[in-house]
Subunit: 92 residues, 5 copies
């Protein structure tokens, strides 16, 4: 799992029917210092995240499937499972 | 899942019988700014994508199998699940 | 599996209900020479690790699920499975 | 899946019995321009590939297991599933 | 799967009970030219490898579980499945 920032959305008219009705969000992975890395994922969303939100992304297919199958969504490799309130870092 | 551009096709006469009759597409992964990265995947196709199309790639074996097993195809790590109409990015 | 150092915690009020009541720990991956890399994971914890601890992280979804399902936790890609006492390296 | 070139073989007398009688091939991953990258995998072989052959490698454990279980082989993360005749690239 | 060299051991008193009684080995991944990369894994061992041995590592959770479940071990992402006698490389 990693911390990311929702950067935008992907629109796709022609898509596999399992994804019909589901938003695809572009999420940039954040580094430990809070800066954005160049790595991103297209994620399904389980917590109604919006553009600009800092989120927790579960980036493993099997686990992601467990989360979203509870809501009738199709297969996924990455899903947003939480909105981040705070990250507390120690120098230890 | 990531955004990619279909770059070409791979022809293979001698191949595992599960792949007989299926096109193998070369897809370059795109960066968040729309440029092509040097990373690619050979993908199966579920939406009749063509060379030059910008597509959504599902890049996890377990999920990819769920998508393609509905069509009698063999195992895969990556499958094209949608053709991209638009990517909307926010600076937020 | 890799060796990491617990760097801090992530607070998330709005999160998938499978994660309710579970701490999310930020763990930086350590290099072989003991220095911290820039790579991190958000991990679930199975051994009551604290900030500053050097830990063993199991970073594969299927295996991580096997460990945590014994405790009623939700899906995960990474879980802390041990606290490191010593790393013995040979130059061989 | 990716395109690779078979570079050599690995000999191992003491090995897990599931691999007894199976050749382990060293395959270098090729870049999109056909050059060899520094990344490699040790692959099981399902199509009788030889050293120097350009091949299609299926690099995901779950899918690889589906392919090789049809032949009584042990677990694998990567398996050669085809020999490449041609790669057709478009500048589009 | 990749080729690695056993570099040392990790001692952990407080660990998940599935790992009790099992050695955790530090294995550095080798490049194709035989040099050590900076990448490593903590591996379970299925062939009694020792420090300094060059080994074959199976680095995928699902496959690794298949190997070790035959011996009553816990979940793992990486397991040593063979000791390397020789690597034969061709310039082809």
């Amino acid at each position: 799992m990693y911390i990311g920032r929702v950067k935008g959305t992907v629109t796709s008219t022609i898509k596999h029917k399992l994804y019909t009705g589901h938003k695809l969000l572009l999420v940039a992975r954040l580094n430990l210092d809070g800066s954005e890395s160049s790595t991103y994922d297209i994620c399904l969303d389980d917590v109604h995240a919006g553009v600009g939100d800092v989120v927790v992304v579960l980036d493993e297919g099997g686990s992601a499937r467990q989360v979203i199958q509870k809501r009738g969504t199709g297969p996924a490799r990455a899903v947003i499972i939480g909105i981040v309130d705070a990250v507390e870092l120690s120098g230890a």
